[in-house]
């Protein structure tokens, strides 16, 4: 599959994420996960290269996310959806499920990637919450 050229802001965001040890995801303007880094793969139990790009449905089925009572969080309430649809940062506490079935409580912060052509994607950072 030959995908269209990514905007330079997404190319550089992907490079930044690949270099960071903060778990992070990159989604394009259609909400497709187009990259997550190795730090995120520790929480998800799988590397990006093994799964490739994932739409919101696939992503939801594979990893949750769930709220603290174990209910699946609707797509439109997720930080990344809010960042993309409304062009503003969003933050939430969620629970995600790794491919091995391990649940991790995380803080997720999504930041839209604004360009001169509008919102072209979002970066989503995860932070594991240690049980106190």
């Amino acid at each position: 599959m030959s995908a269209r050229q990514r905007p330079v802001e997404l190319i550089l965001a992907r490079s930044l994420l690949a270099t960071l040890s903060t778990p992070g995801f990159l989604v394009d303007e259609d909400g497709i996960v187009v990259f997550f880094n190795d730090a995120a793969s520790v929480l998800l139990g799988v590397r990006y290269e093994e799964v490739g790009r994932m739409g919101p449905e696939e992503w939801g089925t594979a990893f949750g996310p769930l709220d603290e009572s174990g209910r699946e969080i609707p797509l439109e309430e997720l930080p990344l959806t809010i960042a993309l649809r409304h062009g503003r940062p969003s933050h939430a506490r969620l629970r995600i499920r790794s491919t091995q079935g391990v649940h991790n409580d995380i803080e997720a912060a999504a930041v839209p990637i604004l360009t001169v052509q509008g919102t072209r994607g979002a970066m989503v950072f995860f932070w594991k919450v240690d049980e106190a």
Partner: protein, 323 residues
Amino acid sequence: MRVKIWGARGSVPSPGPETVRYGGNTSCVQVTLSDGTLLALDAGTGIRSMGLGLAEPARPVHILLTHLHMDHIQGLMFFGPAFDPTSEIVIWGPEAPDASLRDRIARYISAPLSPVEVRELPCHVSFNEAPHSEWKIGPATIRAASVTHRGPTLGYRITEGDVSLCYIPDHEPALGADLRDDGPEWISGFELARGATVLMHDGQYTSDEYSRRVGWGHSRLADALAFGRRVGAKRLVVFHHDPLHSDDFLDALQGDAVERWADLGGEPTSLEFAVERRELSVDRLPRSAASASATPEPRPARGGGAARGGGGSAPSRESSRSP
């Protein structure tokens, strides 16, 4: 389409006995379309000589600025037609979130850096942020795309008939991508440069120099060659020479580059280093040369792994001695 290089030096003008052959003027390339329409790609100090050579200053001159670093706009104040009340200049450049193109250029053409203000320029001048989709200038179709450099920066592709010139003088595509293995969608400038008849591209540094300048927005020669082959450019003109690189040093670098280009499958005659005042005609290549320069597109790994850092791992064959 006829092309004349008026300045191929990067960063800062570097006149002197050691740069007489490749030239010391900064970025400016004149493009003359089939109907005589005139374009200037960037307005570095080379544009001063271009202005002196123009016979009919009254026709519009379109200046396509890749970005507003000084080495790409310094000549604006010394471009003859700007001071001719009968001439018309149309300036195109990158959009930025903070101010209009006109206001950003006015930071240079205003006190204390300049004795005149933009509003005082005698010519008819207009400023246009480059559109996000293709547009026409005379018989040519122009495309602009943001590329990896410091600050808002464009590359341009000028297509007339079935030939195209792609101009990306300041570009670090290896920052954030593996030029060999990443999918083309993740390589800055790929779509813009793909299959260009002539690609003029940043090749400022040796590998040794680049190792200390990763993230500065420029390419090492090895990456310029890899990019040129990857996009399947029919001809590559290495541009934006480092001010420290003397004529003799560039000669040696070019010799190594031709060998490496051939190793990558390129025709030795389809690679050259930009030389000030050199004219090129951008024509369709003979069939044999065109097929020899086609690059098979390598299959990216599933998902396409992101590059780690920008250092890359290409062999460093070119000289690493200090220029």
